[in-house]
Symmetry: C2
Subunit: 376 residues, 2 copies
């Protein structure tokens, strides 16, 4: 099953669906849980780690999360490094969980909506991903999963503090709710820093696709709650939803203002990005994401009608990533070679003379032999 | 006849012909001459200016320059300002000659190979333009014209100093020989400054398409002799030809080195320029010339096979200019509107889905009415 996850650029939750999907790429709920009487991963005896892994595996095999897909269990050691990097690029595991280590586990649903990291910072970090602004639905699913697992497992819980976690910032609800926003107009008009810096006072934080900092690659910003204690899950989710809606509105009004004030400036930006993706011979991952952001804005604004769809752009955002492109080509490549191959792939994807083709990853003969797969 | 000159982007001498035309855009010979007993233009009585104009006009009507086209006479006052600017953009008159002033004249051949400015800095400045590196041919033609005119007119000549001119730097032969070189590889590798700065010692000078300075718009550099005294015309022409050949060789070897050392870097540069010209919505004249330079290099290097020809690029270099584009569109436009229209025109010219169409200027109804022409 993991092979499917690793060879497709599109996940269920990256589809352009859900409310406000033109600006809110995805909604994520993550719950941190730990098992009683077993050491936390950072100071863990190997036997404890093994116990956690087995207990969680067994629990997942037992529970039935009604209407949900089957969950698949993997030890991360089984998964080659490059493939772990793809899971990271798809936000299914964290950078820490991608590193070598014993007793690290992953449970994942085929549609990639549910994933559970085992023995990351906490014993369990379960997450539910939904496209668009659907924190409530993601919460509903994560909550069901949490309840089902709690029937099988004894979670460390304090009647005063709530769920106990490795890091004090997660104690309480153990909830991290987050939304990924695409904010090209706020970036272009240099408003994004001001808008996002005010989040801190409200108990929320923003970071780019790859770490802190105000200017983010591809104009993608991840907003999440900082506080997990003293607020109910519903409060956190409602507050973040309200905040996200405000930012969506600000981004929308800025886009409209830009279109009204200086439509050519936007058309020019979008057009050049399109032209470069179509014709460059060298393309870094960061550049690709930035130009994709411009093109996505153009599609959203109706400036590139009929040429591209948001679904394609979401796929291309994954294809732009270093590990995925190596998988796609079926060989390990250094940065220089990747930049070359990425350019060729994007040139092809953006070729004129017809509607943009939906991106279908195909397992090449070379890829199969390299990764030891059977060709399907 | 002047309407033809003003409405076509291509001149005979801008065609991609002649030796080394991939690097040497054109060769020009200019001769400065003054009539005896009449004041130089800078301190000229109006009656003297009128005399000069009449004498030259009559002389040109009398002479027969065997095998040469008919020469046409114009008073510059008759030509609207925008059209004078086009003559300037086509290098047929100088910036000074483009300005308002009485008794300024222009004589021009239909193929634009010969042009004579009357009452510019000197009474006569006759020039002959040839495509590629053909200073000898340009000289032959200019010399014939000079001899023919000298039979009709009494030129100011000193047996020791040679031809007398307004500016001492032209005294002697009155000859300015120049070549226009396209040096993208030397620019890209930051060698152009070093290569061109050594010219001074040899009695030559280089300047960009628009003035001094080492980095030139569109990587176009004009090389010409500084010394007109103490050397025969043939010496000057041979020395400049030798020098141009050396630079051509240096540019060629640098192109080859670039293609061998890092072909992707070149393909990337050429591809991006192509993509931007095809998709930008705003394009300044300078940007257009710079991207055209990259594309031209790509065509020369065989990287854009079948898509474009050098002839088209020469035309587009003229079309990129502010005055010409206004003429083309048949209306006066400010810089912002020009940048928009220029982008649209270039988008169209670089459109895919077929071979690049040879650029044919067509006189629109609007243009005709604006300039008071009859439609042909």
């Amino acid at each position: 099953m993991i092979k499917k996850v690793i060879t497709r650029a599109q996940s269920n939750w990256t589809k352009a669906e859900g409310p406000h999907h033109h600006i809110v790429i995805s909604s994520r709920i993550r719950l941190a849980r730990n098992l009683m009487k077993l050491g936390m991963p950072v100071f863990q005896k190997e036997s404890d780690g093994f116990s956690v892994l087995q207990k969680v595996k067994n629990a997942v095999e037992t529970i039935s999360c009604e209407g949900k897909e089957k969950l698949y269990f993997y030890q991360l050691q089984e998964i080659p490094h490059l493939e772990r990097q793809i899971l990271l690029e798809k936000h299914l595991i964290s950078p820490e969980h991608c590193e070598e280590g014993v007793n690290k586990g992953l449970i994942i649903s085929e549609d990639e909506v549910i994933s559970i990291m085992i023995n990351e910072e906490d014993h369990l970090r379960m997450q539910a991903f939904f496209p668009g602004l659907q924190l409530d639905k993601a919460w509903e699913l994560a909550n069901q999963l949490d309840d089902a697992l709690e029937n099988e497992l004894e979670f460390a819980f304090d009647s005063k503090k709530g769920y106990l976690t490795a890091c004090p910032t997660n104690v309480g609800t153990g909830l991290r709710a987050s939304v990924m926003l695409h904010l090209p107009a706020l970036s272009l008009t240099k408003q994004v820093g001001r808008v996002l810096s005010s989040l801190g006072q409200l108990g929320f934080t923003a970071r780019g696709l790859y770490g802190e900092g105000t200017e983010a690659t591809g104009n993608l910003y991840q907003l999440s709650n900082q506080i997990t204690l003293g607020q109910t899950e519903m409060d956190i989710i409602q507050n973040l939803t309200t905040l996200a809606l405000q930012i969506v509105e600000k981004e929308e009004s800025t886009r409209n203002w830009l279109l009204k004030e200086n439509p050519l400036r936007i058309k020019d930006r979008v057009g050049r990005a399109y032209g470069i993706l179509q014709n460059a011979a060298i393309l870094t991952s960061q550049e690709a994401l930035n130009y994709l952001s411009d093109v996505r804005m153009g599609v959203d604004m109706g400036l590139l009608k009929g040429l591209l769809e948001q679904d394609n752009l979401s796929e291309l955002m994954v294809l732009a990533q270093p590990a995925f492109i190596q998988k796609y080509m079926g060989k390990i490549m250094d940065a220089q070679e990747r930049d070359e191959v990425r350019a060729r792939l994007f040139n092809k994807k953006f070729q004129k003379g017809g509607k943009y083709n939906v991106f279908q990853i195909h397992t090449t003969r070379a890829a199969c032999s390299f990764f030891g797969w059977r060709r399907s």
